[in-house]
């Protein structure tokens, strides 16, 4: 009886954990990185980097990242070196693949400091979907909402108004792969890119997890059979 109690306790804990993550799929948009078997959509993340570089980087830093880390998105070392060479760091020199992402000059919009985006998906509840909702959530303030000076209305942001203006618009960047750069597409791509940057090992972790679970499930069967056989014969 006790054995069954502990087993159900353990299973309950695991299911609760899985359930908490599975909620994400209820949102209107689906990301390849969603869910416990998700993996980073490299093409989307590459486009997302283009959006970051072209739009977000003027205010938001990503100080945990180096340009060389972009190779994990499927860029060749030559492409990465090219990207880095095109960035002029604060000391006036061009960046190398080993440089950290360029820190933008510290801007403060009425006391609000743009947060570093390296781990933003891990730091905000709702993660990838929140980033998408936030970036597409700008709009005219509904009647009865008085905006603070310099603030914009954003339905996804807690409190409804945010010091960041709406920055994404159609064709804010030109995608190298020919994808049509709509506002929603840009938001989704940047959300996938930030998902990768918050957890660069997401795809590997899930792949390792699947292999480890299959292997150890097999080992459990073998070990339990061995134990039962030995106990039946000698115990």
């Amino acid at each position: 009886m006790m054995r069954r109690f502990f087993a159900s306790l353990l299973a309950g804990g695991l299911l609760a954990g899985v359930g908490a993550h599975a909620q994400d799929t209820l949102a209107p948009l689906r990301f390849q990185s969603d869910g416990v078997f998700g993996s980073i959509d490299l093409a989307a993340a590459q486009r997302g980097f283009a959006v970051y570089q072209g739009v977000c980087a003027s205010c938001h830093g990503m100080k945990a990242l180096h340009y060389r880390d972009l190779e994990a998105l499927g860029l060749t070392p030559e492409q990465v070196a090219g990207i880095a060479a095109g960035v002029k760091l604060a000391d006036g020199h061009a960046a190398t693949p080993n440089s950290r992402f360029k820190q933008p000059p510290l801007v403060s919009r009425g006391g609000a400091v743009p947060p570093d985006l390296s781990s933003i998906v891990a730091q905000r509840s709702g993660g990838t979907h929140y980033i998408y909702d936030f970036l597409t959530g700008f709009g005219p303030a509904p009647a009865g909402v008085t905006l603070l000076t310099g603030h914009s209305y954003n339905g996804a942001f807690p409190g409804g108004q945010v010091a960041m203006p709406a920055v994404l618009h159609d064709n804010a960047v030109a995608y190298a792969d020919g994808t049509k750069a709509t506002t929603a597409q840009e938001a989704a791509d940047v959300a996938e890119f930030l998902t990768w940057s918050a957890d660069p090992n997401l795809s590997t972790r899930h792949a390792v997890g699947v292999r480890a679970v299959i292997f150890f499930a097999f080992l459990v069967i073998v070990a339990v059979l061995t134990k039962r056989r030995i106990w039946r014969e000698r115990g």
Binding site: M2, A20, A223, R234
Partner: protein, 368 residues
């Protein structure tokens, strides 16, 4: 045989070696339940924690804790995996220890002559709670930082030379110097835990009843059982590692402590929540400290709070012990998801009531 001669040579010179060898090779009573493997599984988790801790330590920097963890996760080859070993290893070590302690309570395994073993398991709990809290703080996130901030402030209030503990143990206001100290204590406590669990194994072995009739050898009978139990543990570990690596780890440590964010309520890892809940049962900082000490002392003194003097299990005792288990579980839940009201306090106070009043009363009545 040569091997035996060699073992004899070693055994006659290293007393501890005999102990370890006996633990492995002696005949045991047959048919031990699966749950009797819990201490071994716990030992395996402690070994994993030590090994992964040794690998993580060279990359850790107490003065740039958050950045060091980012480096471990992003730049160290397989660093994310080793960090997960450490985090999930801690989670499972606590799970196994809590289950083991609860099982001892249920079967009343704390009574003479096993009371010394029980006291060692309680010591292990205290040491692991301290080490676990330090690990939580060493993450360098907002959650750990505000918990440390509270701890340093509490230490300032301790009697004695004003702020002695705060100055000497914590190194003043919570910052890099404090984390550097905590890193050393964290490692020392890990070694203590390893020592305590070895002692507990030895004590439990001494307390086992003398074998009636022929026993069964460790190899292959119990080796097979331990191996099967370990592979189940590995499977659970793999599920957590691959798919829910941050389950129960607290949600605030993803934000660096440097940003001036003070959370309304600290989100502790799940294994610290019952202790945090117990501390909150008494008001004020001094109350929190006293509550923690009292809770540990009560567990420690349990062999003497039980007045049954070797009588058989009573139904009321069993029911109360299950109730205590539910109480501690609920206490963890209401600490993890704060709800206000009087329920958290009641749940905390029940723990003290259970050990201080109910245990002596019920066991005395049931023995009579």
């Amino acid at each position: 045989m040569r091997v035996e001669a060699k073992q004899g040579w070693l055994a006659s010179r290293v007393p501890g070696f005999t102990c370890v060898r006996d633990m492995l090779c002696e005949s045991r009573s047959p048919g031990a339940p699966w749950l009797a493997t819990l201490p071994t599984l716990l030992a395996a988790m402690l070994v994993l924690l030590l090994a992964s801790g040794v690998v993580l330590a060279p990359f850790y920097d107490p003065r740039h804790a958050y950045a060091a963890l980012q480096t471990i996760m992003r730049d160290v080859p397989g660093g994310w995996l080793v960090l997960s070993y450490h985090q999930i290893g801690a989670s499972l070590a606590f799970a196994l220890l809590y289950l083991h302690l609860f099982r001892i309570l249920l079967v009343r395994g704390y009574r003479a002559p096993a009371e010394f073993g029980w006291m060692l398991w309680v010591k292990l709990l205290v040491v692991l709670l301290l080490a676990g809290w330090m690990g939580f703080v060493l993450n360098g996130g907002v959650g750990g930082h505000s918990s440390l901030f509270n701890a340093v402030n509490a230490a300032m209030l301790l009697p004695g030379i004003p702020g002695a503990v705060a100055m000497w143990v914590f190194g003043g206001a919570s910052g890099g110097a404090t984390l550097a100290r905590l890193l050393v204590f964290h490692a020392l406590l890990a070694l203590c835990a390893a020592w305590i669990i070895l002692m507990a194994f030895a004590a439990d072995k001494k307390a086992r009843p003398v074998l009636q009739g022929p026993g069964v050898p460790f190899w292959p009978i119990y080796a097979a059982q331990y191996f099967a139990a370990l592979s189940v543990l590995a499977l659970v570990f793999a599920v957590l590692l691959g798919f829910v690596p941050h389950w129960g780890q607290g949600t605030q440590n993803t934000i660096p402590a440097a940003t001036a964010v003070i959370p309304a309520a600290i989100s502790y890892p799940w294994y610290l929540t019952p202790a945090a809940g117990l501390a909150g049962a008494f008001p004020g900082v001094a109350g929190h400290i006293c509550a923690m000490i009292l809770a540990a002392a009560l567990l420690y003194a349990l062999p003497w709070l039980d007045r049954s003097r070797g009588a058989r299990h009573g139904r009321v005792y069993m029911a109360l012990t299950w109730l205590l288990g539910v109480d501690v579980l609920m206490l963890g839940l209401v600490t993890a998801f704060p709800m206000g009201g009087v329920l958290p306090k009641l749940l905390g106070l029940w723990f003290y009531f259970h050990f201080l009043v109910l245990t002596p009363l019920v066991t005395m009545m049931e023995a009579a």
